[in-house]
Amino acid sequence: MSFLLTCPHCGVREVTDFGYGGEVTKRPTGSPDRRELNTYNYFRRNVAGVQREWWYHRSGCRAWFIAERDTTTNEVHKTEAVG
Protein backbone atom coordinates (compact mmCIF):
# COMPACT_ATOMS: atom_id res chain seq x y z
CA MET A 1 0.00 0.00 0.00
CA SER A 2 1.38 3.38 -0.91
CA PHE A 3 0.02 6.80 -1.57
CA LEU A 4 1.03 10.44 -1.34
CA LEU A 5 0.22 12.88 1.40
CA THR A 6 0.62 16.64 1.25
CA CYS A 7 2.19 17.97 4.42
CA PRO A 8 0.81 21.50 4.99
CA HIS A 9 4.36 22.68 5.65
CA CYS A 10 6.66 20.56 3.49
CA GLY A 11 4.49 19.64 0.51
CA VAL A 12 3.88 16.30 -1.18
CA ARG A 13 5.69 13.29 0.28
CA GLU A 14 5.34 9.51 0.23
CA VAL A 15 3.14 8.13 2.96
CA THR A 16 6.15 6.32 4.42
CA ASP A 17 7.40 9.75 5.54
CA PHE A 18 4.46 9.99 7.94
CA GLY A 19 3.09 8.35 11.04
CA TYR A 20 -0.61 7.64 11.31
CA GLY A 21 -2.23 9.08 14.43
CA GLY A 22 -5.73 7.66 14.17
CA GLU A 23 -9.06 9.23 13.46
CA VAL A 24 -9.96 12.60 14.91
CA THR A 25 -12.04 12.08 18.04
CA LYS A 26 -13.78 14.43 20.37
CA ARG A 27 -12.04 14.82 23.70
CA PRO A 28 -14.40 14.63 26.67
CA THR A 29 -14.80 17.89 28.54
CA GLY A 30 -15.31 18.59 32.20
CA SER A 31 -15.13 15.54 34.46
CA PRO A 32 -15.95 12.55 32.28
CA ASP A 33 -17.20 9.35 33.89
CA ARG A 34 -15.55 5.98 33.26
CA ARG A 35 -17.87 5.10 30.42
CA GLU A 36 -17.04 8.32 28.57
CA LEU A 37 -13.32 7.84 29.15
CA ASN A 38 -13.54 4.24 28.00
CA THR A 39 -15.33 5.31 24.85
CA TYR A 40 -12.80 8.05 24.19
CA ASN A 41 -9.82 5.78 24.72
CA TYR A 42 -10.91 2.60 23.00
CA PHE A 43 -13.83 3.08 20.62
CA ARG A 44 -13.38 4.21 17.05
CA ARG A 45 -15.88 4.70 14.27
CA ASN A 46 -13.65 2.91 11.74
CA VAL A 47 -15.37 4.56 8.82
CA ALA A 48 -15.42 2.93 5.40
CA GLY A 49 -15.25 6.19 3.47
CA VAL A 50 -13.93 9.68 4.13
CA GLN A 51 -12.65 10.26 7.63
CA ARG A 52 -10.68 13.00 9.36
CA GLU A 53 -7.49 11.68 10.85
CA TRP A 54 -4.23 12.75 12.45
CA TRP A 55 -0.90 12.35 10.69
CA TYR A 56 2.62 13.16 11.89
CA HIS A 57 5.41 14.14 9.50
CA ARG A 58 8.10 12.19 11.27
CA SER A 59 10.65 12.34 8.44
CA GLY A 60 10.11 16.03 7.82
CA CYS A 61 8.90 18.97 9.85
CA ARG A 62 7.83 16.81 12.82
CA ALA A 63 4.44 18.48 12.99
CA TRP A 64 0.99 16.94 13.46
CA PHE A 65 -1.71 17.81 10.94
CA ILE A 66 -5.15 16.63 9.91
CA ALA A 67 -6.02 14.88 6.67
CA GLU A 68 -9.31 13.87 5.14
CA ARG A 69 -8.77 10.46 3.54
CA ASP A 70 -11.07 7.95 1.94
CA THR A 71 -10.21 4.77 3.79
CA THR A 72 -11.53 2.60 0.95
CA THR A 73 -9.40 4.15 -1.79
CA ASN A 74 -6.64 6.01 0.11
CA GLU A 75 -7.55 9.13 -1.82
CA VAL A 76 -6.58 12.12 0.29
CA HIS A 77 -9.10 14.92 -0.17
CA LYS A 78 -7.30 17.58 1.82
CA THR A 79 -4.81 18.23 4.58
CA GLU A 80 -4.65 21.12 7.01
CA ALA A 81 -2.25 22.44 9.61
CA VAL A 82 -3.35 22.56 13.21
CA GLY A 83 -2.91 25.52 15.54
Binding site: H9, C10, D17, R58, S59, G60, R62, A81
Partner: protein, 220 residues
Amino acid sequence: MSAGFLTVAAGGPPARSPLAEGSHRGAELEERDGWMVVASYGDAEGESRARREAVGWADLSHLPKAELSGAGTWIGSPAEGLATPRGDGWSCPLTPRRALLVGDTGAPPEGATLDLTSSLGAISIVGPEARETIARFCALDTRAAVMPPFGFRPGSIARTPGYLLRAGEEAFLLIFGAAYGAYMWEVVADAGSRLGGRPVGAAALTPALPAPRQEVTTDA
Protein backbone atom coordinates in the same frame (compact mmCIF):
# COMPACT_ATOMS: atom_id res chain seq x y z
CA MET B 1 15.14 20.95 30.02
CA SER B 2 18.53 22.44 29.33
CA ALA B 3 20.53 21.17 26.38
CA GLY B 4 23.75 22.49 27.81
CA PHE B 5 25.16 18.99 28.08
CA LEU B 6 25.24 18.86 24.28
CA THR B 7 27.42 21.91 23.81
CA VAL B 8 31.17 21.74 23.46
CA ALA B 9 32.80 22.74 26.73
CA ALA B 10 35.27 25.59 26.46
CA GLY B 11 38.78 24.38 27.24
CA GLY B 12 37.72 20.73 27.10
CA PRO B 13 38.93 18.16 24.60
CA PRO B 14 37.80 18.84 21.01
CA ALA B 15 34.53 17.26 20.02
CA ARG B 16 34.45 14.45 17.47
CA SER B 17 31.97 14.29 14.64
CA PRO B 18 29.30 11.59 14.86
CA LEU B 19 30.58 10.54 11.42
CA ALA B 20 34.16 10.18 12.63
CA GLU B 21 34.17 6.40 12.26
CA GLY B 22 34.01 6.88 8.49
CA SER B 23 34.98 10.46 7.80
CA HIS B 24 38.16 10.55 9.93
CA ARG B 25 39.64 7.46 8.28
CA GLY B 26 42.82 8.53 6.47
CA ALA B 27 42.11 12.18 7.18
CA GLU B 28 44.32 15.04 8.26
CA LEU B 29 42.49 16.68 11.11
CA GLU B 30 42.60 20.15 12.53
CA GLU B 31 40.81 21.78 15.42
CA ARG B 32 38.20 24.40 14.63
CA ASP B 33 35.84 26.00 17.11
CA GLY B 34 36.31 23.12 19.54
CA TRP B 35 35.76 20.38 16.94
CA MET B 36 38.11 18.04 15.15
CA VAL B 37 37.49 18.85 11.49
CA VAL B 38 38.81 17.03 8.42
CA ALA B 39 41.15 19.46 6.70
CA SER B 40 42.01 17.09 3.85
CA TYR B 41 42.64 13.48 2.96
CA GLY B 42 46.24 14.16 1.96
CA ASP B 43 45.56 14.84 -1.72
CA ALA B 44 44.40 18.43 -2.00
CA GLU B 45 44.63 18.46 -5.79
CA GLY B 46 42.70 15.23 -6.22
CA GLU B 47 40.03 16.38 -3.82
CA SER B 48 39.69 19.71 -5.58
CA ARG B 49 39.43 17.91 -8.93
CA ALA B 50 36.78 15.54 -7.63
CA ARG B 51 34.51 18.31 -6.51
CA ARG B 52 35.15 20.27 -9.71
CA GLU B 53 34.65 17.38 -12.16
CA ALA B 54 32.50 14.82 -10.35
CA VAL B 55 31.42 15.00 -6.72
CA GLY B 56 33.02 15.46 -3.35
CA TRP B 57 31.51 15.00 0.08
CA ALA B 58 32.70 16.39 3.36
CA ASP B 59 31.81 15.92 7.00
CA LEU B 60 30.56 19.30 8.22
CA SER B 61 29.00 18.12 11.46
CA HIS B 62 30.83 20.87 13.33
CA LEU B 63 28.56 23.52 11.76
CA PRO B 64 26.42 25.10 14.47
CA LYS B 65 22.81 23.89 14.31
CA ALA B 66 19.89 24.98 16.44
CA GLU B 67 16.13 24.90 16.43
CA LEU B 68 14.37 28.22 16.75
CA SER B 69 10.81 28.15 18.01
CA GLY B 70 8.24 30.79 18.65
CA ALA B 71 7.12 33.60 16.42
CA GLY B 72 9.13 36.15 14.58
CA THR B 73 10.60 37.30 11.35
CA TRP B 74 13.46 34.77 11.40
CA ILE B 75 11.19 31.76 11.01
CA GLY B 76 10.05 32.54 7.48
CA SER B 77 7.48 30.67 5.44
CA PRO B 78 7.82 26.89 5.07
CA ALA B 79 5.49 26.98 2.07
CA GLU B 80 8.17 28.76 0.02
CA GLY B 81 10.71 26.07 0.90
CA LEU B 82 13.60 28.53 0.95
CA ALA B 83 16.25 29.13 3.56
CA THR B 84 17.03 32.73 4.43
CA PRO B 85 20.65 33.83 4.83
CA ARG B 86 21.33 35.10 8.37
CA GLY B 87 24.86 36.19 9.19
CA ASP B 88 27.14 33.31 8.17
CA GLY B 89 24.34 30.79 8.16
CA TRP B 90 20.77 30.13 7.19
CA SER B 91 17.39 30.10 8.81
CA CYS B 92 15.47 27.13 7.38
CA PRO B 93 11.71 27.17 8.03
CA LEU B 94 10.11 23.94 9.26
CA THR B 95 6.66 25.15 10.28
CA PRO B 96 5.24 28.67 10.76
CA ARG B 97 6.55 28.50 14.34
CA ARG B 98 9.82 26.53 14.04
CA ALA B 99 13.00 26.88 12.01
CA LEU B 100 16.34 25.13 11.83
CA LEU B 101 19.30 27.49 12.13
CA VAL B 102 22.42 26.24 10.34
CA GLY B 103 25.82 27.90 10.52
CA ASP B 104 26.82 30.94 12.49
CA THR B 105 23.60 32.91 12.24
CA GLY B 106 24.11 34.97 15.38
CA ALA B 107 21.40 35.23 17.98
CA PRO B 108 17.87 35.57 16.62
CA PRO B 109 16.05 38.70 17.77
CA GLU B 110 13.15 36.71 19.22
CA GLY B 111 12.07 33.17 19.99
CA ALA B 112 13.73 30.34 21.91
CA THR B 113 16.68 28.37 20.53
CA LEU B 114 17.76 24.84 21.32
CA ASP B 115 21.32 23.87 20.40
CA LEU B 116 21.33 20.78 18.16
CA THR B 117 24.94 20.92 16.99
CA SER B 118 25.93 17.67 18.66
CA SER B 119 22.70 15.84 17.98
CA LEU B 120 22.67 16.42 14.21
CA GLY B 121 25.30 15.38 11.70
CA ALA B 122 25.92 17.17 8.41
CA ILE B 123 27.49 16.17 5.10
CA SER B 124 28.16 18.63 2.31
CA ILE B 125 27.91 17.20 -1.21
CA VAL B 126 29.38 19.38 -3.94
CA GLY B 127 30.16 19.08 -7.62
CA PRO B 128 28.45 18.52 -10.96
CA GLU B 129 27.36 15.01 -9.90
CA ALA B 130 25.99 16.17 -6.54
CA ARG B 131 22.36 15.91 -7.64
CA GLU B 132 22.87 12.49 -9.18
CA THR B 133 24.58 11.30 -6.00
CA ILE B 134 21.69 12.45 -3.84
CA ALA B 135 19.14 10.96 -6.23
CA ARG B 136 20.60 7.51 -5.51
CA PHE B 137 19.42 7.52 -1.91
CA CYS B 138 16.83 10.26 -1.60
CA ALA B 139 13.49 10.81 -3.34
CA LEU B 140 13.35 14.57 -2.76
CA ASP B 141 13.10 16.50 -6.02
CA THR B 142 16.30 18.52 -6.42
CA ARG B 143 15.68 19.89 -9.92
CA ALA B 144 16.59 23.58 -10.03
CA ALA B 145 13.05 24.51 -11.10
CA VAL B 146 11.66 22.87 -7.97
CA MET B 147 14.51 23.42 -5.55
CA PRO B 148 16.59 26.46 -6.50
CA PRO B 149 19.70 27.49 -4.59
CA PHE B 150 18.86 28.01 -0.93
CA GLY B 151 15.95 25.62 -1.30
CA PHE B 152 15.30 23.69 1.89
CA ARG B 153 13.41 20.39 2.18
CA PRO B 154 12.72 18.36 5.29
CA GLY B 155 12.16 14.75 4.32
CA SER B 156 13.36 11.20 4.18
CA ILE B 157 17.05 10.88 3.34
CA ALA B 158 18.30 7.34 2.88
CA ARG B 159 15.11 6.27 4.68
CA THR B 160 15.92 8.31 7.76
CA PRO B 161 14.44 11.65 8.87
CA GLY B 162 16.57 14.53 7.67
CA TYR B 163 16.87 17.86 5.95
CA LEU B 164 18.29 18.83 2.59
CA LEU B 165 19.57 22.35 1.97
CA ARG B 166 20.67 23.43 -1.48
CA ALA B 167 23.48 25.78 -0.62
CA GLY B 168 24.42 26.59 -4.22
CA GLU B 169 23.96 25.41 -7.81
CA GLU B 170 26.09 22.33 -7.18
CA ALA B 171 26.31 22.33 -3.40
CA PHE B 172 23.99 20.54 -1.01
CA LEU B 173 24.01 20.03 2.71
CA LEU B 174 22.46 16.92 4.26
CA ILE B 175 21.47 17.18 7.91
CA PHE B 176 20.37 14.11 9.86
CA GLY B 177 20.33 12.57 13.32
CA ALA B 178 23.79 12.05 14.80
CA ALA B 179 23.03 8.40 15.54
CA TYR B 180 22.85 7.77 11.78
CA GLY B 181 26.26 9.36 11.18
CA ALA B 182 28.29 6.30 10.24
CA TYR B 183 25.42 4.92 8.15
CA MET B 184 24.93 8.18 6.24
CA TRP B 185 28.64 8.51 5.52
CA GLU B 186 28.64 5.01 4.04
CA VAL B 187 25.49 5.67 1.99
CA VAL B 188 26.92 8.87 0.49
CA ALA B 189 30.28 7.21 -0.15
CA ASP B 190 28.60 4.25 -1.88
CA ALA B 191 26.61 6.54 -4.15
CA GLY B 192 29.31 9.10 -4.84
CA SER B 193 32.23 6.77 -5.44
CA ARG B 194 30.34 5.10 -8.29
CA LEU B 195 30.16 8.51 -9.94
CA GLY B 196 33.87 9.18 -9.71
CA GLY B 197 33.67 11.12 -6.47
CA ARG B 198 35.60 10.96 -3.25
CA PRO B 199 35.54 12.39 0.26
CA VAL B 200 37.11 15.79 0.54
CA GLY B 201 38.36 17.95 3.36
CA ALA B 202 37.15 21.37 4.32
CA ALA B 203 40.02 22.93 2.37
CA ALA B 204 38.75 21.53 -0.94
CA LEU B 205 35.29 22.90 -0.26
CA THR B 206 36.26 26.47 0.31
CA PRO B 207 35.11 28.05 -2.95
CA ALA B 208 32.10 25.75 -3.33
CA LEU B 209 30.66 26.13 0.09
CA PRO B 210 27.98 28.72 0.04
CA ALA B 211 28.54 32.27 1.06
CA PRO B 212 25.35 32.92 2.97
CA ARG B 213 26.05 36.61 3.25
CA GLN B 214 25.39 37.05 -0.44
CA GLU B 215 22.04 38.56 -1.24
CA VAL B 216 19.58 36.13 -2.73
CA THR B 217 16.85 36.95 -5.16
CA THR B 218 14.01 34.48 -4.92
CA ASP B 219 11.63 35.95 -7.47
CA ALA B 220 13.71 35.06 -10.54
